[in-house]
Structures are given as structure tokens and as C-alpha cells.
């Protein structure tokens, strides 16, 4: 081989190395930029949380949970707010979970794929992203004025139920879709009906994913404020809803569904908007509780998903 050829080959290799170095620089530059973006987001969030915790945590005490709101910040508590949040969560769960799961299963397994179901699907995904106050306005017209349900726990529960329904439908469908088709075929090949296939296989195998979706949707609902203010939540409630059990027959009472309510984020908002700094401390304490509750709920969701993944192998 002539020296000229050798030299031109060497030049090519050098070119290639320069090119690689250049591209590696770009790689590195993006890596650094990405890390900075991540740190910025994380640190801002962390600063906010620490600030909230430092202000709020010292205020937490047993009385804070067992006292009604009060004109005196040091005596004010969140009893009516957390009871209201709890009652509304139960109402929301009772209406949104069965409806959402049933709708998800129907869309995924029963409905034929045509333009109509396509349209419905698109709208459900769209609904999941609509500003929550729109749901509040709709609920005000429908539940409060049309159905005369009043500014009650029932109205609030149904409103939040509507709000999280799309989330439950979408996550249910996604969970069902992870069950391999071979399992469906195996069940059908043994003579199972569609319902037997859904009940004996799809739902049990996807229950981890469905539960995760349910919990995440409830943890979203617990922090919602705007739609509840729209349907008429009170900001100052110094009494509890009717108890769900009674001494005489039929022992269960649903009177509480018709009671007025407040919830934790509204209580928090109310305190923040007052001039006295002592009330701001109360708001921070409520914020800490909300934060911990959301964290716990999401933690449970992750744990459930992990457990179910471990148990299921295809």
C-alpha cells in the first residue's frame, strides 16, 4: 500500500475522533442542563415544603384536630374541616369508583370500536384535563338548582365524583390493557362468558392498577377547593354533620348527606385570607396535614402497585 493511501486513512481516523469529541460535548452539555433543571425544580419545591413545615408543625396538637374553628386563632381547630373532607371523600368514592370501573371495563372489553366510542374516549381524556371550577359551575346548576340537593355533603361528593371519574376510567382501562390477550383467549377457550372472563380474570389481575388509580384520584379530590366553593361550601362551621349511626332502627342514618360542609383546603384558604399572622400559622398546619395525607395516599398506591406486580407473572 502506498504511503499516500495510508496518510489519507490516518486523516480520516483523526477526523472521526474530532467528530466524536464534538458530539460528546453536546451530550455532556445536555446532561448538565438537565441536572440543573431538575435541581431547580426540586430545590424550589423543597424550600416551599420546609417553609410550610417549619411554620405549621409546631402548631399541631391534639386540640387542633378536635376544636371547631374560632375567632381566636390559638383556640381554632380543623374538626369540622377534616370531618367534612372525610365525609365527602366517602361520598365521592362511593359514586365514582363503581361508575368509573364499570365504564372503563365497558369501553375496553364490551364496546365495539367505532367512531362513537372513539369520540367518547377523546372526551373522557379531555374531561380529565378540564379546570375543576368548570365542574363546580356545572354541579351548581345540576345538583344544587336542578336536583335541589342543596349546598350539602352529597352535592360536594357528587361534584368531586364527577371530577375524578375520568381519571378512574382512564386508569381502569390502562390497568385492564396490561392483562395479556393470551389470558383472555385462555378463558374464552374454556367456554367462559364475557362477564366470567372480566370477573374471574381481568378485574383480579388488574386490581393493583385500578386501586392505584382510585387512590390517586381520591388524593386529587381531597385537595380540590374551587368546585366546592362554587357549589357553596361554608367557610365557618362550628357543628358536625349528623352521625351516620343511630340508636334506634334502622340504625344507619343518611341525614349527614344533606348537611352543610367545609373541607380542609377551604378552611386553609379562609385562614390565609385573614390579616392576623396567627391564623396563617393555622393555615400552614392544615397544609402540612393535607400534604402528609396526600403523601400517605400516594405511598399506599405505589405500595399496592408494587405488591401486585410482584405477585403477577404471565
Amino acid at each position: 500500500m502506498s504511503t499516500a493511501v495510508l496518510q489519507s486513512e490516518r486523516a480520516q481516523v483523526l477526523d472521526m475522533r474530532a467528530n466524536i469529541r464534538r458530539r460528546q460535548w453536546v451530550d455532556l452539555a445536555f446532561g448538565v442542563a438537565g441536572l440543573l433543571a431538575l435541581l431547580f425544580a426540586l430545590l424550589t419545591l423543597l424550600a416551599l415544603i420546609i417553609d410550610l413545615a417549619m411554620t405549621g408543625v409546631p402548631r399541631l396538637s391534639w386540640e387542633f384536630f378536635t376544636n371547631f374553628p374560632s375567632r381566636f386563632p390559638e383556640r381554632a381547630g380543623i374538626l369540622s374541616a377534616w370531618v367534612g373532607s372525610f365525609a365527602i371523600m366517602i361520598t365521592t368514592a362511593c359514586c365514582a369508583i363503581p361508575l368509573g370501573i364499570a365504564a372503563g371495563v365497558y369501553l375496553e372489553e364490551y364496546a365495539s370500536k367505532n367512531w362513537l366510542t372513539g369520540l367518547i374516549e377523546l372526551n373522557i381524556i379531555n374531561l380529565a384535563g378540564i379546570p375543576s371550577i368548570t365542574f363546580g359551575l356545572m354541579a351548581l346548576g345540576l345538583f344544587v338548582y336542578q336536583f335541589q340537593l342543596g349546598q350539602s355533603i352529597l352535592t360536594a361528593g357528587l361534584t368531586l365524583g364527577l371530577l375524578v371519574l375520568p381519571i378512574i376510567i382512564v386508569t381502569t382501562r390502562e390497568a385492564i390493557r396490561t392483562v395479556p390477550n393470551s389470558i383472555r383467549e385462555a378463558a374464552y377457550a374454556l367456554g367462559a362468558s364475557r362477564w366470567q372472563m372480566v370477573w374471574d380474570h381481568l378485574l383480579p389481575y388488574s386490581s393493583g392498577g385500578i386501586l392505584t388509580g382510585v387512590i390517586i384520584s381520591l388524593s386529587r379530590a381531597i385537595g380540590e377547593t374551587a368546585p366546592l366553593i362554587t357549589v357553596g361550601a361554608l367557610t365557618f362551621i362550628a357543628f358536625l354533620p349528623h352521625p351516620p349511626v343511630m340508636a334506634e332502627f334502622p340504625f344507619l342514618s343518611f341525614q349527614w348527606l344533606k348537611d352543610p360542609f367545609t373541607v380542609m383546603p377551604i378552611q386553609m384558604f379562609n385562614w390565609v385570607s385573614r390579616p392576623q399572622p396567627e391564623f396563617h400559622v393555622n393555615a400552614a398546619a392544615t397544609g402540612v396535614i393535607l400534604l402528609v395525607m396526600t403523601l400517605v395516599m400516594n405511598g399506599i398506591a405505589i405500595w399496592i402497585r408494587y405488591r401486585f406486580r410482584q405477585r403477577l407473572k404471565w
Binding site: 365495539s112 370500536k113 395479556p180 393470551s182 389470558i183 383472555r184 383467549e185 385462555a186 378463558a187 374464552y188 377457550a189 374454556l190 367456554g191 367462559a192 362468558s193 366470567q196 374471574d200 380474570h201 389481575y205 405477585r311 403477577l312 407473572k313 404471565w314
Partner: protein
Amino acid sequence: MTTNTNLNLRAEVKDLSFSYGPKKVLNRVSMPIYENRITALIGPSGCGKTTLLRCFNRMHDLYAATNYDGEILLHPEKRNVLARDVDPMEVRMRIGMVFQKPNPFPKSIFENVAYGLRVRGVRKRSFIEDRVEKSLQQAGLWSEVKDRLPSPATALSGGQQQRLCIARALATEPEILLLDEPTSALDPISTTHIEELITELKKDWTIVIVTHNLHQASRTADYTAFMYLGDLIEFDTSDKLFTTPRDPRTENYITGRFG
């Protein structure tokens, strides 16, 4: 086509055409299925052998835009399983199927085998237990799993899982057993196991098996059908089809000139 008058017909495919939407996959296929015999469907990929097998238990009904034309008559009453007024659930309750890839339910070994009975509403515990044991014995799995029936089926090896799927199909005593390339996902030792098992099973069952393994067809099947591009090219006893094929396409295929 050779018809054997000494054997009882278990089923009969008559002028069966099948299409996915506009795409025709089977073209006027006719063939007999003899009682207590193994019938193999062979042919290159995409020839329609699996499609034909899945017509027998109306698996195609699960998907949109599929269309049957022609008949599959189930003997002795000569019921056309493809008829519109026949519920696919009835067909699947009478004709069992084992799939290409083992697909046990993520439940216990016991529940897998018992599921076909549960679907039928059988409640009696002792009956289910007896049937589970019998089916697992027939599938040659009993001695390996009898001490761990409550443990998950997915923990079994691939070969064991496939035998479990066979036991699951046998538990409801189907009139015909369909096997769709039952060994294609298994190692050679498990394959031998399953092949021996299939030969054993024909004493009590009528079997239709799809395979791309020509040795498997010639070793285990009594009858073999060679399919090509949706047509049934040749149907004969495995002996004749593999030694003296009549059609040049069959000969080319079994001698490995295409496939």
C-alpha cells in the same frame, strides 16, 4: 381426497372459507377429522393452518371484521359449529384448545385445572377435586404437582405449564382437542414429553394439531393436511403424505425446498 370408511368421523370441514376484513385467508377447505386420531395441519408460515384451527372453536369471533363461509360439522349430530345461531360459548365448551405459548392463569395450579368446571357452574368440591386429579394424571403432570396444588401455576417450568394447559383443557372432557403449535415455545426435552403425551391422549381424544415441525407431524399424527396460501393442497395419512406425496408442492415443502 382419501376418505376412510372404517373410521368414525368426529368432525368434517366443508368448503370452509375465512377472511379477515377484505383479506381472504382460507379458501374452500374441506377435510375430515377422525375419531381418536391425531390430525396434523402443516404448511409454511401464513398458510392459514392456525386460522383453520381457530375456526373450530370460533376463536375468531372475539375479533372484529372476521367472516366465516362454509361449515364445520360436529359429528354425530352434524351440527355446524359456524352457524350463526350456534353460540360460540357452546362450541368452546365442546371443543378444547391449547395455545402456542403456555398461558396459565396467574392462579393456583388447582384453580387453573378447575376453571373450566367453575365456568360451567360446577360447585361440588369432591367432583372438582377428582376431575382435577384425573386431568393432571392424563396430562402426565400429577406426580410433579400433587404436593403443591395450591401454589401458583406461573412458578412451573414452561413444559410443565403447557402440560397444565393441556390438563385444563381436558378437565371438561371436550369432544375435540385443538393444539396450536403446542411445543414451539418449549425446549427439546419438554417437546418430547408433550409429543409422548399427545400420542397417549389419542386413546381417549380426537386431536387436531398445528405444527411447523414436520418430524412432529410424521411422528405423532395419523393424518396430515398440507396447506399452502389458504388452500388445502393435500390430505392423507401421515405415512402416505410424507413418503409418497401426490402434489409437487407438498413434496417441495416436506423435502425442505421452501418453507
